[in-house]
Symmetry: C2
Subunit: 429 residues, 2 copies
């Protein structure tokens, strides 16, 4: 299959955040990896392109996982009775320390990479560990998949315990520069992203130097913000001059700019001040509802963030989230927003299915460019889904089938996946 | 495989609600359909029984789905942006009306029955529709599976619209008596249960007559209680003399007795008065967290109910719950209890994984007798699970693997299922 072709099937994509456009037995056209649009009947100008007919299957845009920890993948789904700080010290940090061993890293990252290749995501923004070699191994593996990813070597020079901590701010910075040097010219699909874990893991000096590195090289940053109440109290102790956790990042000049946006995962407890900081810097919120419920963090008021015009995508946040399945994440995102409305503030209406579908596709995809829709000019990222295991007693609309898929992820089988018009995955029956 | 044998594998079951007993490569012994216990090594007295070695697979007790609507199964996962009363009138009642057509009922119930056979549940308490013939068809199909179920022909003589309503209280009662008559001697594994849908669907006269029928014949009752705020307000209008929704059921003598316990689904908004009524009557709460989040109903304070000593099991509540997968229900139950703690009342601690495993197995199972554990004297209900798709980088304990299975239900493959020592399902590879 070359890079210009037509797919036919049950098409669904977000026209905007309130509208899912669908075509039963419709067409999407890919020319040189770019989507020319979706059509109920095929325009004459494309009639000579090869056509691949997926019959009754669904075809939806590739999804973007805006926050996932690769080294945590193999211990997902355990220790979920803990809250954040206990969970990090008991499960996460000891596991991540093992990635000093390259043989371990190679094997473990194969599991992660292969499962990412098979899931609904065509793009992802990924945390590695603090280890340069292991992070390059992860990037090498990801680059070959054809998925497009940002990957970060983690910075942490304090509070990691003796096995998961860089020796000093300077050592962390030097390791980061070496890592960036070794990335140069090495990848087609994989980009480095600066990754200070979170303020409790990074000294003021380290945070400052990451801010400088970002600014001088136009490098993006990812981190965590306002996930857990104990964490927030700790940050206030660590950066007493800050007016908020977000302001602490701002002090270190790590909140980015609209042209070089920072991703902040969680923002569960972000108030008006943090919202205005996020908005001002053009930052992205990676909303991780599954993780936020599992670690008893709370529920982020996504409706408020959307109303304020803040950039938002969804993250699975494995391993605090238990699966890389973005449609399961959509279901949990919906449930979380309904509970925020019911239990916290009835002025904050639940997210609609349309809105959550948008967040999973174009919302997070916009971090990468024109990604996550079948509107003309978007990169051709597409996922073909067989939902026939969920038989029905009547004809269902494409819109109904897409909703049903999210509520029954175990029965939605991905058949093929395309990134920029290249097939990156085919299910072997 | 006859009815006395030994299974070997990774055994896990609730010793009590705070303790999961596990044996790596342990044994469970079945004699005439009854569990003789679980053992780290095989007692001599059983050494002549046939042994089936499941190697590294997990073996857990069969689960009990305490609340599921069979006719709603084929439209699960759609319309989930609605709340209860709108969802009932828009999706549910029109669908249930179709079960007047026996051809339709036969086909649709095959989907339900086959999927129930394949899931983690070995026991279930099931709503049919108001149609006698269709409900008998459902019971016929279920009886053949070997699963043990209670099934109810629904009573509703008001507020169902013209297509889903019995003509009068008397007509509903007569149809129920006819249905009970036709059940007699017909089933081995399937029991009738009286099923007034909920008070808005049943006139005072009908409710009263169901109470009498229950008492005179020792027949159990299932219904819905305090699911949604609009519903509760409506019940208060319909039964103005009641002091609570639960009291309204009490007025009609439908709350049952410890020897003949009523199941009340939901109890999201049940207060101290309702708790004391439920407790006094020995009623069971069917906790349906997935449904309660999907329909924006809220979160039931299960910890409070447990502390009060009320009987509790879990229900999937398809189709307001979107799947019959009880381990996915466990995950959502945990998330719901964590959010109740975080967002509503920090004096109500989240449920532990141990507690939720107990509720899914022995908690709900106790409605059927000694069911849902591998302690001696329990019915031999068991599920064999292959979790090898969730490879790990280290040896995991059985306890960890059981937790991981619940957080990654899509990757937990059921291989075999036993009810009372009879194999009712084998996965065909």
């Amino acid at each position: 299959m070359n890079n210009s072709f037509i797919l036919r099937g049950g098409i669904a994509f977000s026209e905007d955040k309130n509208r899912i456009t669908t075509y039963y037995r419709g067409y999407i056209v890919c020319v040189d990896g770019i989507c020319m649009g979706a059509f109920p009947s095929l325009p004459d100008e494309y009639k000579d392109l090869p056509l691949y007919d997926y019959g009754e299957r669904l075809i939806i845009p590739g999804m973007t996982d805006l926050h996932v920890h690769a080294p945590q993948y193999t211990f997902r789904g355990i220790g979920m009775d803990e809250e954040l700080l206990e969970w990090l010290s008991t499960y996460t940090f000891p596991e991540e320390a093992k990635y000093a061993d390259m043989e371990y890293a190679r094997r473990a990252y194969k599991y992660f990479t292969e499962d990412l290749r098979r899931c609904f995501s065509t793009r992802a923004v990924v945390f590695g560990t603090l280890h340069t070699d292991a992070t390059l191994e992860l990037m090498d593996q990801l680059d070959k998949t054809g998925l497009i990813t940002y990957v970060g070597k983690v910075n942490m020079d304090r509070n990691g315990g003796e096995n998961l901590q860089e020796e000093s701010a300077e050592a962390s910075l030097e390791a980061t520069k070496e890592w960036l040097e070794r990335c140069k010219g090495r990848y087609v699909n994989t980009y480095p992203i600066l990754t200070p874990r979170f303020i409790p893991s990074c000294s003021d000096e380290l945070m400052m130097s990451i801010g400088v590195l970002s600014r001088e090289n136009g490098l993006r940053i990812q981190s965590h913000l306002s996930e857990n109440l104990s964490e927030i109290a700790w940050v206030k102790e660590l950066v007493p001059e800050s007016t908020s956790y977000a302001n602490a990042y701002e002090i270190f000049d790590t909140m980015g700019t609209p042209d070089c946006p920072t991703i902040m995962a969680h923002c569960v407890h972000s108030d008006e001040e943090e919202m205005s900081i996020l908005k001002k810097h053009g930052a992205y919120i990676a909303h991780c509802a599954d993780s936020n419920m599992n670690l008893t963090s709370g529920i982020a008021p996504i409706r408020k963030f959307m109303d304020a015009g803040i950039n938002i995508g969804l993250g699975t946040d494995v391993a605090a989230g238990s699966s890389m399945n973005m449609v399961k994440t959509m279901l949990i995102t919906l449930q979380a927003s309904k509970m925020y409305y019911r239990l916290v503030d009835q002025n904050v209406k639940p997210l609609t299915f349309e809105e959550v579908f948008y967040l999973a596709t174009e919302g997070g995809g916009s971090y990468f460019g024109k990604i996550g829709s079948f509107k003309p000019g978007f990169d051709f990222d597409a996922v073909v889904v067989d939902d026939s295991k969920m038989y029905s007693m009547r004809d269902m609309s494409i819109r109904e089938r897409v909703e049903r898929m999210c509520y029954n992820d175990a029965d939605a089988i991905i058949k093929d996946k395309f990134v920029k018009g290249r097939k990156v995955y085919t299910r072997i029956e």
